[in-house]
Symmetry: C3
Subunit: 100 residues, 3 copies
């Protein structure tokens, strides 16, 4: 892992959480985030309440591996029981490491 | 590959295919998908009909490697001759592997 | 690296740059690109002008590693001083390598 390696954490969740989530990930150390509107289908958490199309957001954070794990774990604990929440992360190479 | 590794399959195609594509990828084993509206430019399949900006969708599926290959291969066979279709996949780590 | 490996270059920047950026990346060798509207927060370049939500775009290019580095380096030089600009790249596997 060179010093240009970071994690891209992608969070797909309900649009109503946008404000709360953005505050939370900044508290947890993210230097920035990107949000796009999305729609989709998936099982909703543990409730198994069936499937439904709904307004979602797709939130991306590029940060250190430690920060990505901290954010992902916090969101999972705080939101996955009651909200549709998908989390995944991947390796990315950044050009300006001082920004992340 | 640990049991938290999955594939992220990204499909970029014409917006008119959204309904058909969603049905198809569920038939092929996807547990969910995320769609965002997109625009872009690219060569359109084999027709080489020039380039043009058009309404596209960007569809993402997180699933097993086998499922990602099944979906990608099926979409390629069924749509790439007649529609603009871009397919690529990457490695992602998921937090809750039971969901994918 | 098999011949199906490419780079996915993601550029997140100000919406006002869309036209100029699309022209530039085609000049630099991209065969296509995908754009989605986005919003977000981040430090704005070197100006440290504080943080603000603003209209962004998220531009994706799948291309060879050399092409991705050429585009990323050019955009960094030409835009990062005066515009909000995030660049990162990751490995992707494509199904139809002749298209990229």
């Amino acid at each position: 892992m060179t010093d240009h390696q970071r994690k891209l954490l992608t969070v797909i969740t309900e649009a109503s959480l946008e404000h709360a989530l953005c505050e939370r990930i900044e508290q947890l150390g993210a230097h920035g985030y990107t949000i796009t509107d999305a729609r989709g289908k998936g099982s909703r958490g543990k409730r198994d309440a069936g499937w439904g199309a709904s307004a979602n957001i797709r939130l991306e954070v590029v940060c250190s591996e430690a920060c990505a794990h901290t954010i992902a774990e916090a969101l999972r604990k705080e939101y996955s029981d009651n909200y549709a929440l998908i989390l995944f992360m991947s390796d990315v190479e950044v050009l300006r490491p001082e920004k992340f």
